[in-house]
Each structure stands twice: as structure tokens, then as C-alpha cells.
């Protein structure tokens, strides 16, 4: 509990630095929201009026502290391009992102761990090599490309699954499979090497000599101890997915946080970029903390004071 509190308190300076960097960097790139909104040939007086309305005519530091003050009050500001509250835009998209992140991580965990264990048990045999080639393929296939392939196969040729939007559970299948497949390889490789490491330990040899069945050794004794690096990989992946899977969201036309932020950057919609980055940072830290807590559950030797 104390540990959790400490972690959350550590978040405050991190967020302060982060907000400042984001605030500065998005304004440092050429182009501003008014130029993007009013397009080519917009008269200077209209641009000035728009800048004043959005408060962009105020000094940088004033804008920054106004933003900070609003954040403290729980207000992430208003999108310059849509006029909607940034919080509303985020909340509206969050369920989609959560479904993709959970689904993708789950698929990666189930298949990745299973394949990794099998590969470790059959080390240097054909099955192991086949699984490692598969993992390499899965890690190195760009999600964009994989998504299009799956769309071609399951939507166009077979006609089984829809390819656009997120309106039913069927819509979630292809994007989740895309994300899961991508992470699966990494998980399989990590599981394999970690398993090999554990399987060569003395206590495993002892168990074997005591006549414990191989199945129990692999799935109960070894796997549990091999899971720590795997959980780390999965945690990082999940945290990353909570920040949106921009390419997959774009290909499958799913309104998620990744697309929101990229659209925000392209439109120079400062409040949207600031708001989404803040949410990403917080969720990443939260996920990491949870992963740390899971370590303790897997290995009771790990304790936080």
C-alpha cells in the first residue's frame, strides 16, 4: 500500500516534466491549428480572430499555466478542431482501445506462452525450429501489412468477418488477431529462453530424480518460475497498446486513442495531443505498477517496502 502510494507520488514530477515537454514540442513544429483549420488563402484577420478565440495569442507560459490549472481541476481542455471536450473524445474511444489492448495481450499470452513452452521442451528439434521461425515472422511482419492480409482473406475472399468499424464482437476479431499475432512472437521467444534457463536449474533436476512427472515439472514448477520476464514483456506490450494501436485502428477504421492522438498531431490540435499524452503516461505508469505487483504474486521473494 505504502509502495503504491509512493509510486503514485512519483508520478507527479514525471507528469510535470512530461506536460512541459509535450506542450513545448508540439508548438515547436511548424504549422499551427489555425493554419490547418482555415486552410489555404485564409485572410490574416480571420486567423487573428481565431487565434484570439483559442487563446493562442497569449504568451507561451501563460498558456502553459492555464493548461496546468485546468488539468488539476480535471479539465483536459477543448479540442480546437471539433469544439468537443478532450475528456469526452478520450472517454468515447477508450472502450475500443481497452478491448483491443486486452484482446491483443490475451491472444499473445495464450499462444505465445504455449508455443514458447513447447519450443523449450523440444529444444533444437524440428518443432522448436518451426516455432522460432513462426515467431520471427510474427515479430517482423508489420501490423499494417498483416491487417490488410487478414482483411483480404477473411473479409474479401471468405466473407466471414467485417473489416470496418467496431460495432459488434465480430468486428473486434481481426484487429485483435492482428495485434495478438504481432506480440505473440516476442512472448514465445521470451518464454522459451526463460524456460530453458529454469529447466537447467538444480531443483528441476532434483524433481526429476525424485520421479515427479515431466508434465508437472514443466507446467507447474518450471513455468511459474519462468513467467517473470514474460509478464514484463506482456505488461510493456499492454501498456503500449493502451496508448492506442494507431496503424491497426487506421486500417480497420476503429475510433481509438491512437488515431485520436495522431489526428491531433496532424491537425496541430494542441489540447487533444496534450490530453491524450497525459492519459497515456498515467496508464503506462499504472500498468507498470500492476506488473510489479504481479511479480510479487508469482515470486513471493519479491517484496516492496
Amino acid at each position: 500500500m505504502k509502495y503504491l502510494l509512493k509510486r503514485l507520488l512519483q508520478l507527479i514530477p514525471l507528469l510535470l516534466v512530461l506536460t512541459f515537454v509535450i506542450f513545448l514540442s508540439i508548438r515547436a513544429v511548424p504549422g499551427d491549428p489555425v493554419e490547418v483549420m482555415l486552410g489555404m488563402g485564409a485572410p490574416e484577420n480571420a486567423k487573428a480572430a481565431e487565434r484570439a478565440r483559442l487563446g493562442l495569442d497569449k504568451p507561451f507560459i501563460v498558456q502553459y499555466f492555464t493548461f496546468l490549472g485546468n488539468v488539476v481541476r480535471g479539465d483536459l481542455g477543448t479540442s480546437m478542431s471539433t469544439g468537443n471536450k478532450v475528456m469526452y473524445e478520450i472517454v468515447r474511444r477508450f472502450p475500443n482501445t481497452l478491448i483491443l489492448a486486452l484482446g491483443g495481450t490475451l491472444v499473445a499470452a495464450l499462444f505465445g506462452i504455449a508455443l514458447g513452452v513447447v519450443a523449450a521442451v523440444r529444444q533444437n528439434k524440428f518443432t522448436d525450429n518451426a516455432i522460432m521461425v513462426l515467431s520471427l515472422l510474427s515479430v517482423s511482419t508489420p501490423s499494417f501489412f498483416l491487417a490488410l492480409l487478414l482483411m483480404l482473406l477473411f473479409s474479401l475472399y471468405l466473407g466471414w468477418l467485417p473489416s470496418i468499424g467496431m460495432r459488434s464482437w465480430q468486428h473486434a476479431i481481426l484487429p485483435i488477431v492482428t495485434l495478438g499475432t504481432q506480440a505473440m512472437g516476442m512472448v514465445a521467444r521470451t518464454t522459451r529462453s526463460s524456460m530453458l534457463d529454469v529447466l537447467s536449474q538444480d531443483y528441476i533436476r532434483t524433481s526429476r530424480s525424485r520421479g515427479v512427472s515431466e508434465r508437472v515439472i514443466v507446467y507447474i514448477h518450471a513455468l511459474k518460475n519462468a513467467l517473470i520476464p514474460v509478464v514484463t514483456v506482456l505488461g510493456l506490450r499492454f501498456g503500449g497498446l493502451l496508448a492506442g494501436a494507431t496503424l491497426v485502428e487506421t486500417v480497420f477504421t476503429i475510433p481509438g486513442l491512437g488515431r485520436l492522438m495522431v489526428d491531433g498531431v496532424l491537425k496541430r490540435d494542441y489540447p487533444v495531443v496534450q490530453g491524450t499524452m497525459l492519459v497515456f503516461a498515467v496508464s503506462f505508469v499504472v500498468v507498470n505498477t500492476v506488473v510489479d505487483l504481479i511479480y510479487g504474486m508469482i515470486d513471493p521473494r519479491i517484496k516492496y517496502e
Binding site: V29, P30, G31, D32, E35, V36, M37, L38, G39, M40, G41, A42, P43, E44, N45, A46, K47, A49, R53, S81, T82, G83, N84, E89, R92, L148, M151, L152, S155, L156, G159, P162, S163, I164, G165, T250, V251, F252, T253, P255, R259, D263, L266, K267, R268
Partner: protein
């Protein structure tokens, strides 16, 4: 009695049998359909909208509009005429028209609209432009209005579209700054009402049964936003949607041959060009070097490679724009290009920087082809690829010196096409010498006294035949003698749809007539 009953039943059976084929022959139509496009509207406030007319026209009406053939026809005005002074235009307004919220349309709506558009104290996106030629809007009676121009103005009628959609005074007042941003704040007299709008996802429209032009053919439709081109193609191929636009040229050919799908291509007012930086801060200030670049390029090759099916341009305007004259496509002539370079003092070639952006379809690829073709005559191109926000930031408010310092482009890609479909809109704002010498409107700092004189004359002249002559003379200079840019291709708007779609039509400016569309079940 029994006999009678038998007869009745028998005849009913016969009638039923006879009726059955008839009922089958009548096609059943869907209650709604889905249209897919790449980008959402920025706002549904016509005076701030820079997206396009495609969606605005579903909801709003203006005094005048263009029909599918490009002719100017009455919309909310039924008759119009100009007084002897050539500056006072009188419009008779359509009676019995209502807004979506049921309130009546009359001269006060027009007055409120123009008061807002012309308010230089609180300018909108289009105020400066409009206040430049309209000086007053006067109510004559409930259904007659006068618009007064600063001077005789030849392109006047063509301008009364776009930002000039007639708004509801009450709605304007009620929503203020938020006008046009939510479905409730969108209140027009057009064929459809907006009932839902999820930004960057979809916009849902419902038929406005009291539309003065008659109730739309289908009860509702959705415009869905799919930013990724391949995803749009798959969506239409799998019939998850009914109509799609913005499909790449290579897919159009393939889709056109598929069963169950048809492609409608409509030549638009749009063109692609590479514009020159003609300021004294660029090497291309010298017209001979601009001509050299122009002659060094093989437009047919570029267009055939990147935009199969499109036509190489033949003038600084598309054939669909009033004022067009066919000068023919400029043919590649490398010897002539080299001679011009030698004459200008660069016999061994020179270096330029060209900016391109993927905002325009195949924009980057166009830059690459141009680079390789120019290399053949010794012009060395440094290609810079930028994203939309940088592209937009580079166009506007800069002096040639500032432009050189920040960007330093000698040429840049441009998509042009006047939403008014008139030469004035297509040429005047872009190529007349800018009084402040900035690139707010005249992106390439172009300046030619003769062109200024002609384009100003074309604006004032009200005899449309004479205007054609004036623009021909101006375009001779812009296109050939002192070129503004290299025009590549005249663009088509292509629409891919299920073959069950009936009644599809679209105008040269990209307006789709959604109210005529029906989709068979």
C-alpha cells in the same frame, strides 16, 4: 350462396396470381445507405468550412446553385436581375420554404446571413473575400432582397455559393461560437437534417420531408469516414458500404471490371500543378528558367503513370471551369529547355528545391517523376516531402525573404480548382500581384502587370463573351509566356458504388446529389 363464395374465392385467387408478378417487378429499396469518404467536415458552419461543398449542400441552400451540368440555377432565389447601374442585384425569393426546425424562410434569413458574412468587425473565414465585392444587403420586402456590389462584377452570380449558404437567424444567435459544430446547431433548408455526428467517424442524415424540392428518395444515409485508402476499397468490394469516393486510380480500373460494382467518373474543376516561386528570392524569378522547367517535363508520361484515365491539362483551368480555353498540352522539348537555360546563363543546369506532400493523391510520386525528368536536362532537384500542417503553414502571410529563410522552396505542389467554377475564382486571387507582397493568396509571389490588368478587367466585365476573350489573353501569359506553374492533369471525381445504387449524380465541384439516390435491396 356457396356458389357465390366459390366465385369470390376463385376470382380473388386469380387476382392474386395476376397481382403477384406485378408486385415482384416493383423493386424494393433500402431505407438507408452508407457513403464512404476519407475526411470528415471541419465544421458545418459554411462561413468557416474549408472542407468542401459535398456535405454543406445536403443541409443548406444558397440563393443560387449549380446543377449537375454546371449551369447556374436558382436555389432559394427564383428570379434575379441586375439594375441599370450594374451593381444592384435584385433577387426574388422562393416562398413556402421552411428550415429544418420548422421556422419559415424569408428575406430576414438572407439579411441575417449576409450581415454575418460581411461583418468585418467579427470576420469569418470568408468575410474579407466577400466584403471585397458586396457592399450591402437590403431587404426590399418579405420575399425580395438586394445585394449591392462595389463595382460591376462579372463573376458575381457564380460566387453566391459556398460560404453563402442561407442560415437561420435564431439558430445563429442561440449557438454563437458553437454554431455548426453539433447536430442541434445545424439548421438549414436543404434536403437532409443532420441527426448524429461522431467526429472523424460518421455523420448521419435524415430526409427533410418538407424540402421545397420534394422529399429525398431515401429516408436516411450515413457518411462514414475511412481514412485509409485500401480499407475504403475493401469496404466497397465487400459491399459493407454502398458508395465510396477517393479510391486510387489503379483500383478504379480493377473495380470497374468487377461484377456488382460500377464506377462513375465525373470530370471536375480540379487540377494538379507544380507552382513556381516567382519571387526575386528564387532562381526561378527568371521566366526563361520557368519555361525551361516547363518544357523539360513529359506530362503525358507523368499522368499516364500516376493518374491513368485522367487527361493532361491544356490550360491553367479545367475544361469544366468558365473561361477555359484549350491551349493544348505543353509537349516535352528538351532542346528548347536547354536553349532557354543557356540564354538565361545556366547552360550546365542549376539546382532547385521542390516541395511535395501526400495531401494530394500521388503527390510524392509526382515529385519523384519530375525530379528524374528534370535531371535529364541538368536541373538538379532537391525533393522535400512535408505533411499537411507544414504545407499549409508555408502558404500564407510570408514575404519572399521570410519564405526563403523558413522554407526555401522554388516549386511546390498545388491542387487548384475554383469552387465557383469561374475563371475569376480560379485565377484572380491566386495570380494577381499581392499588394503586401506576401503569399497569403498568391502562393508563388507571381507578379505580371499585364496579367493584373487583364484579371481585373475580367472581374469587372459583365459581358460573358468578352470575359472569355480577356481570360484567354491572360492564360496565354500564365500558361506559356511567363508561366505560373506546370499544370499536370485535369482531375476526375470518381465514385465507386454497388450496382444496386440508382439515381447517382454529382456536380463538377464535387457536390453529390444525395437526395436523388436510391439503393435496391
Amino acid at each position: 350462396m356457396k356458389k357465390l363464395l366459390t366465385w369470390v374465392l376463385f376470382s380473388a385467387l386469380l387476382l392474386g396470381l395476376a397481382g403477384a408478378p406485378l408486385a415482384n417487378a416493383e423493386t424494393a429499396y433500402k431505407d438507408s445507405f452508407i457513403y464512404v469518404t476519407a475526411n470528415d467536415q471541419d465544421t458545418m458552419d459554411p462561413m468557416w468550412n474549408v472542407s468542401n461543398d459535398k456535405v454543406l449542400k445536403q443541409v443548406y441552400s444558397s440563393l443560387l446553385t449549380r446543377d449537375a451540368d454546371g449551369n447556374i440555377v436558382g436555389d432559394l432565389a427564383t428570379e434575379w436581375s441586375v439594375g441599370e447601374d450594374q451593381v444592384t442585384w435584385t433577387f426574388k425569393l422562393r416562398q413556402g420554404v421552411t428550415f429544418h426546425d420548422g421556422s419559415p424562410f424569408d428575406a430576414s434569413s438572407v439579411k441575417a446571413t449576409y450581415d454575418r458574412l460581411l461583418d468585418t468587425e467579427n470576420p469569418t473565414r470568408y468575410t474579407e473575400q466577400t466584403a471585397g465585392y458586396i457592399v450591402a444587403c437590403n431587404v426590399v420586402d418579405d420575399f425580395t432582397i438586394e445585394l449591392v456590389t462595389a463595382s460591376p462584377y462579372g463573376a458575381f452570380l457564380a460566387n453566391l455559393m459556398g460560404a453563402h449558404q442561407i442560415l437561420n437567424p435564431k439558430t445563429l444567435e442561440q449557438y454563437g461560437e458553437d454554431f455548426g459544430k453539433t447536430p442541434e446547431s445545424i439548421n438549414g433548408t436543404g434536403p437532409f437534417k443532420v441527426v448524429a455526428w461522431d467526429r472523424d467517424e460518421q455523420m448521419v442524415f435524415e430526409a427533410f420531408e418538407d424540402y421545397y424540392g420534394g422529399a429525398p428518395a431515401t429516408k436516411s444515409f450515413t457518411i462514414m469516414i475511412i481514412p485509409e485508402a485500401n480499407s475504403r476499397t475493401i469496404a466497397i468490394e465487400t459491399h459493407q458500404v454502398d458508395i465510396a469516393d477517393g479510391i486510387g486510380a489503379e483500383d478504379l480500373v480493377r473495380l470497374g471490371e468487377m461484377d456488382g460494382i460500377k464506377v462513375v467518373k465525373i470530370k471536375s474543376i480540379g487540377q494538379h500543378l507544380l507552382q513556381f516561386n516567382a519571387s526575386d528570392q528564387s532562381i526561378l524569378h527568371d521566366a526563361r528558367l520557368r519555361q525551361a522547367v516547363s518544357y523539360a517535363l513529359n506530362r503525358q508520361e507523368i499522368v499516364e503513370t500516376l493518374y491513368p484515365g485522367d487527361d493532361p491539362s491544356t490550360a491553367p483551368l479545367s475544361p469544366k471551369t468558365f473561361g477555359y480555353h484549350n491551349f493544348g498540352t505543353i509537349q516535352q522539348d528538351q532542346e528548347k529547355a536547354k536553349a532557354l537555360m543557356a540564354e538565361a546563363g545556366y547552360p550546365d543546369g542549376f539546382d532547385i528545391t521542390i516541395m511535395v506532400t501526400p495531401v494530394y493523391i500521388k503527390g510524392v510520386e509526382m515529385g519523384e517523376l519530375v525530379k528524374s525528368q528534370l535531371a535529364e536536362v541538368g536541373i538538379n532537384v532537391n525533393l522535400e516531402v512535408v505533411e499537411r500542417a507544414v504545407f499549409l503553414a508555408s502558404l500564407g502571410g510570408l514575404t519572399p525573404e521570410e519564405y526563403k529563410q523558413t522554407y526555401g522552396y522554388d516549386m511546390f505542389i498545388m491542387g487548384a480548382g475554383p469552387s465557383t467554377a469561374d475563371a475569376h475564382g480560379g485565377l484572380h486571387r491566386l495570380y494577381v500581384t499581392d499588394p503586401g507582397n506576401t503569399n497569403t493568396n498568391n502562393y508563388g509571389f507571381y507578379s505580371n502587370a499585364k496579367v493584373d490588368e487583364l484579371l481585373n478587367a475580367g472581374a469587372m466585365e459583365t459581358d460573358q463573351e468578352k470575359r472569355l476573350e480577356i481570360y484567354k489573353e491572360a492564360m496565354q501569359i500564365l500558361y506559356l509566356d511567363d508561366p505560373v506553374g506546370v499544370w499536370m492533369n485535369d482531375r476526375y471525381n470518381a465514385y465507386v458504388m454497388s450496382d444496386k445504387v440508382e439515381g447517382f449524380s454529382a456536380g463538377v465541384t464535387g457536390v453529390v446529389y444525395f437526395n436523388k439516390i436510391k439503393v435496391a435491396k
